[in-house]
């Protein structure tokens, strides 16, 4: 896209009604999902989880354990589905691939100088290629927030384009890191920019700063996806990540998803939840619905 087109695209982004968005998110979060509907929602939530470990202290051992948990979250209970993907740093992709072969669980790798994104484009593209070569099925990239906030939309756009080119048909999730963008208007601009540049998913956060994913930000991003789909016919996916720890939160995201984007998006192909401790809470909630007794963390695996 040429400079003038991009400029007019960004200028054409209408501002977000902050009060309206926050009120809508708060109202939807209150919806009560119980019993059979809750079990259905929790099952979908597990199938949409990108089970994530992104720590400096990650080891092949930890990734191996996470893969085992992702494939069979509740040992001895085959009615609990596998998660959508395991999300790791590029250097651990090979380990994850080796342990997930044949399981149907995908391997997602963060790339492009995660989490800051402050590096050279050539290095980001090279990192993406390496991750793909190691066997990653999906790439989670971060945008260069420094460039975005200083108004250099072209650079952000081109960089996403180069990484998408390196990805080829591999799904690319673009992390906006909404906590650093400051305003809903910026979130909307960044969402449109990322989708125009070729993102297959837009993702809220790295999980490394607070605030991470919030419901109002998700409403804004989902509305962008909806508008983009109406204009272009392309269905872009959405991934909230960071700070989603409880079943209640996960269900709130599903409610907002249903109300904003509709049933077409209620599938792991177009919706993911980036989380780590969420999975145990969902297992506890499912067990509570089945047994009728509140559960304790002592009886679930330690992450």
């Amino acid at each position: 896209m040429s400079l003038t087109h991009l400029g007019s695209l960004m200028r054409g982004v209408r501002s977000v009604d902050q009060v309206g968005v926050e009120e809508r998110a708060a109202a939807l979060a209150k919806r009560s999902i119980k019993k059979a509907s809750k079990l259905w929602a929790l099952d979908l939530a597990i199938r949409c989880i990108d089970l994530t470990t992104l720590e400096g202290a990650d080891t092949p051992g930890k990734v191996t354990a996470l893969c085992a948990k992702g494939v069979r979250p509740q040992p001895g209970d085959a009615s609990i589905p596998s998660v959508a993907a395991i999300c790791v740093y590029p250097s651990l992709v090979a380990t994850a691939v080796a342990h997930l072969r044949g399981s149907g669980v995908r391997v997602a790798s963060v790339a492009t100088a995660f989490p800051s994104g402050q590096s050279f484009t050539s290095i980001k593209v090279a990192e993406t290629r390496e991750a793909l070569a190691a066997g990653a099925d999906e790439i989670d990239m971060v945008i260069d927030r420094g460039a975005f906030l200083s108004g250099d939309y072209q650079r952000v756009y081109d960089e996403i384009g180069s990484v998408k080119e390196a990805c080829g048909s591999t799904p690319l999730k673009v992390i906006l890191e909404t906590g650093e963008l400051g305003t809903y208007d910026n979130v909307r601009r960044a969402s449109i920019l990322a989708m125009a540049a070729g993102a297959d998913f837009i993702k809220t956060s790295t999980g490394k700063i607070t605030p991470a994913a919030t419901l109002p930000v998700s409403v804004v991003m989902m509305e962008c996806i909806r508008d983009f789909s109406r204009e272009t016919g392309k269905q872009i996916g959405f991934k909230p990540a960071g700070g989603i720890r409880t079943s209640k939160q996960a269900i709130a995201y599903l409610v907002v998803l249903y109300e904003t984007l509709g049933p077409d998006w209620m599938t792991p192909e177009r919706f993911r939840l980036g989380a780590s401790s969420l999975l145990n809470d969902i297992l506890m909630q499912i067990q509570k619905e089945r047994s009728g007794a509140y559960q304790g963390a002592d009886y679930f695996s330690v992450d």
């Binding site: 009728g292 509140y294 559960q295 963390a297 002592d298």
Partner: protein, 270 residues
């Protein structure tokens, strides 16, 4: 001016209404929160969260906190006396409650010497046994006496380092809820004690079956309720303590009943 007080639950260090919004009037004209199973769930979560910090405090520090509870209760004698119906019996009950706090405050740093042992074993081992707190304890307070009954079960549980979710007396919950105000000003970390009022029959099954509760002090259970509690408690092998005859007496065993014993085999002389 006549200021009418709203009695509230004591949960995670805060005074809250029941999430259900329900109330009942067991004791005069006051609306008392009729707690729900979700209030109970939230309280257990708070108690679990508070457990590592409270149990790892030094025994001496726990003693100081329990002593401060006695000080705070002492300063509000008149209020509690009125709440308990006034007169000499009520005064006596408050006196006994203050004494209970002081007595168990003294026991926090003596339980280990009293109940811990060095065991003679046939081998090159230094073998010793120590009491450790059980975890989250559900205290079912007796219906009567409304204040002292609860304090007699609460103080020993805290003395050993447990955290507590207490079901207040169903018929006379005001003293228990006001005790929350005493504990809130006693340097007790939030969540260490939670006080829930409401209908026993509604709350007991959830408390007894809760997998994150490690023990239940069934002092206030009827025989039928006790059977019910024991059955549900089997789900995660909760310790169920029934206080038999002599439960009124101050005793270190009241604290030790809610503790587990850990035995360590330490190789020596190799």
């Amino acid at each position: 001016m006549d200021v009418r007080k709203t009695y509230k639950l004591f949960a995670a260090g805060e005074f809250v209404r029941s999430e259900s919004g329900r109330t009942y009037q067991p004791d005069g004209p006051h609306n008392v929160p009729r707690g729900s199973r979700k209030d109970l769930r939230d309280m257990v979560k708070a108690a679990r969260g508070a457990f590592p910090g409270w149990s790892r405090r030094t025994a001496m520090n726990r003693g100081q906190v329990l002593y401060r509870a006695a000080e705070m209760l002492d300063g509000r004698r008149a209020e509690f006396r009125d709440l308990l119906g006034g007169g000499r019996p009520a005064g006596g009950q408050v006196d006994a409650a203050v004494e209970t706090w002081v007595w168990y405050a003294g026991w926090t740093d003596k339980l280990h010497q009293f109940a811990g042992t060095v065991n003679p074993v046939a081998g090159p081992y230094f073998n010793f046994t120590l009491p450790e707190p059980t975890g989250v304890v559900g205290v079912v307070a007796p219906e009567e006496p409304a204040l002292l009954g609860l304090v007699r079960r609460l103080a020993p549980a805290l003395c050993g380092g447990n955290t507590v979710v207490a079901l207040a007396s169903e018929r006379a919950p005001l003293a228990a809820l006001t005790l929350g105000e005493v504990l809130a000003t006693s340097d007790l970390p939030p969540g260490v004690v939670n006080v829930l009022s409401g209908k026993r029959q509604e709350l007991l099954p959830w408390l007894a079956a809760h997998m994150d509760v490690n023990a239940i002090d069934a002092a206030g259970c009827t025989a039928a309720q006790l059977a019910q509690v024991q059955e549900a408690a089997a789900g995660n092998l909760k310790r169920v303590v029934q206080s038999g005859p002599g439960a009124e007496a101050l005793s270190p065993h009241a604290a030790l009943d809610l503790m587990e014993f850990k035995t360590v085999w330490h190789p020596i002389g190799v």
